[in-house]
């Protein structure tokens, strides 16, 4: 029998997607341990758990708290204890930027919000039903911080869902989002057709059996690590005007532009996958969760005539063409920020994009592998000089091949459609661990 999930102790963040239309991320620094502990002690009861947050939750706002390595150290976790945490977490994302392909305008020295600063100790993530509730909570937190002079907001980011608020998540390029997400085996939930087998909890939460059939040793002290996860945060600007201009330059007709947009993504903007609808969009299929993931590549499209081998979704989920897929699954949370750019509008110079968290138990095996190999390896799947067309590290020197009969199309010098404006690695503790950190007992543990 697998160990049941301790739903009352795991933060809800990776377990449940909340019906939020707005969000706010605040990046905090603590002047000293006492200030950080006092702040945490006052908030811990408001943090949603896997038990308290569900689809029938009456709540209007959901709080999540996570810490960087320097944040854990500031709260009194000893260096000896921190040494039992994985090296990549201790180094932080900025130090590992080159592994992730974050150079040039995406390099840490260009990041916004002070995110490359080791003074970032904690993040508080607020998801809210609407903007009004988000703003109310923001005011409340601001008032709370006036009572704690040793806790300061280094930067913050407001997020809002994009219109028309019809229950469908979209990002700024216009693609339907959140179509595939791993299902955690221990929840008993059934994956939708084509979503792959449910994934063991140990791939997302520390202290559970993973897909290798074992429970890896926990970082110490166990009271701090059990029921925890790691989060990779990415603030990714989307260059919407440049993306639309690229489509116009490459294709003469609106249909041609839509097809090219689909070839880059692997899905039409409706979400309909190219493997199932190679020539024409089928919005009804795109929105049908029972059908929109129900496809494989090996037999249906081995050479990428439908969905190019280098398309975004074919890199992010190799389905039946990848090895050890269950060991690379991750849970994504987040949303869009910045105002939508109206169709036909010129570039307004306003930053807009996706700010997301990728949750897992091993940043190096799951998140960094994805970025290093699937996203940015120019020789991915025997391609030559290509990177993920949407989220890859582009400087105009990589290409995109669209297989076609009789002759393929090769787009030379693909421009960058996205830029990473900030990032960080966080540890997302369980509730017991949050109380442990707030108590100051962590100082007694070495």
């Amino acid at each position: 029998m697998p160990t049941p999930l301790e739903l009352g102790d795991i933060q809800h963040f990776l377990l449940a997607r909340t019906p939020a239309l707005a969000a706010r991320y605040e990046f905090l620094t603590f002047d000293d341990a006492a200030a950080g502990r006092a702040w945490l002690a006052g908030l811990v009861d408001r943090v949603g758990t896997g038990r308290s947050v569900g689809s029938t939750s009456p709540d209007a706002r959901w709080i999540t708290i996570a810490f960087t390595c320097s944040g854990l150290r500031m709260l009194g976790v000893s260096d000896a204890a921190l040494a039992t945490f994985p090296e990549e977490f201790r180094q932080g994302m900025a130090a590992r930027a080159s592994i992730l392909g974050l150079g040039g305008t995406s390099a840490p020295d260009q990041w916004l919000g002070d995110l490359a600063n080791p003074a970032v100790h904690s993040i508080v993530i607020l998801f809210a039903r609407d903007v009004a509730e988000r703003d109310r909570c923001e005011r409340q937190h601001r008032e709370y911080l006036t009572t704690l002079p040793g806790v300061r907001v280094l930067s913050a980011l407001d997020l809002e869902a994009l219109p028309p608020f019809d229950g469908v998540a979209r990002e700024h390029f216009g693609y339907r989002d959140r179509l595939s997400q791993p299902v955690i085996a221990e929840t008993g939930e059934q994956p939708t057709p084509g979503s792959g087998a449910a994934v063991r909890a140990g791939e997302f939460f520390l202290g559970y059996e993973d897909e290798a059939g074992s429970v890896p040793p926990l970082p110490r002290p166990e009271v701090l690590s059990r029921n925890g996860s790691y989060l990779a945060y990415l603030r990714m600007e989307e260059h919407v005007a440049a993306f639309r201009e690229f489509l116009r330059q490459q294709a003469n007709t609106p249909d041609g532009q839509e097809l090219l947009a689909a070839k880059l993504m692997g899905r039409w903007r409706s979400g309909a996958p190219l493997v199932l609808c190679p020539d024409k969009d089928d919005p009804a299929l795109g929105g049908d969760l029972q059908r929109t993931n129900d496809f494989l590549y090996k037999e249906a499209d081995p050479y990428g005539y439908r969905c190019p081998v280098g398309a975004h979704i074919r890199r992010m989920n190799l389905r039946d063409t990848g090895e050890n897929m269950q060991r690379r699954r991750m849970i994504r949370r987040g949303g869009t920020y910045g105002p939508p750019l109206p169709e036909e509008a010129p570039d307004d110079g306003v930053e807009r994009g996706i700010a997301a968290f990728i949750g897992c138990v091993s940043l190096i095996r799951q998140f960094e592998f994805t970025m290093n190999v699937w996203v940015n390896d120019p020789k991915f799947k025997d391609l030559d000089n290509e990177r993920d067309p949407i989220v890859g590290a582009h400087d105009g020197t990589f290409d995109m091949t669209v297989p076609k009969r009789p002759v393929r199309t090769r787009i030379k010098g693909l421009p960058a459609f996205t830029t990473i404006r900030g990032g960080a690695y966080f540890f997302l503790p369980g509730i017991t661990a949050l109380r442990f950190l707030a108590s100051g007992e962590s100082e007694l543990v070495s």
Partner: protein, 185 residues
């Protein structure tokens, strides 16, 4: 992917002492370049006293494993593996040399899973300093492999930069042509 290289001109590459020309950090440390002889590793480690016969026996076991499951190692895109036992003074050493088309840093975890599936890890357990908790401690396994990797200072390719996939395609094509010509007799 010999697109930028001429497979018909043999090529040698001298490599600096570090094993690379410019430092490029991979997930687990520095990465090594692709050479005319493809990617590869050379792992050398001292064996535990008295384990030589057991290690040699594993050669037969792995032969049987691959006979039963010929494509077990396919994900690594291997060309060749070589296992050697040799003496340095009174001590016995094991050398494990692999030549393949993937960057080892990129597929480290997959390789370790395959080592495990094909019993290579069982040989590793006979090596001094190998972490015996490797089953639940992949980072320690990876650290051991990296610490015992000896980078080449020269690599040569008679048909440089050609991948195993390209060789297999060429042979399949030759076979198809040969068969076609036979049918035209």
């Amino acid at each position: 992917m010999a697109s930028n290289n001429d497979w018909s001109t043999p090529k040698a590459m001298a490599i600096p002492k570090e094993g690379y020309f410019t430092l490029q950090q991979g997930r687990y440390g520095e990465t090594y370049p692709r050479t005319p002889a493809c990617h590869g590793f050379t792992i050398i480690a001292k064996i535990k006293p008295g384990t030589e016969a057991q290690i040699r026996d594993y050669g037969t076991k792995i032969e049987q494993t691959i006979a039963a499951s010929p494509h077990a190692l396919a994900p690594l895109q291997l060309h060749y593996l070589r296992w050697v036992l040799f003496d340095i003074g009174p001590d016995k050493y094991f050398m494990y040399q692999g030549i393949f088309d993937t960057d080892f840093d990129k597929y480290t975890e997959d390789a370790i899973d395959l080592f495990t599936a094909t019993g290579v890890n069982t040989v590793f357990e006979k090596l001094e300093g190998f972490p015996m908790d490797w089953k639940t401690n992949a980072p320690a396994f990876i650290k051991f492999v990296r610490e015992h990797q000896c980078p080449s200072f020269l690599e040569y390719g008679e048909y440089p930069y050609v991948t195993a996939g390209e060789i297999k395609k060429a042979l399949a094509l030759k076979q198809a042509f040969s068969s076609m010509l036979d049918h035209m007799q």
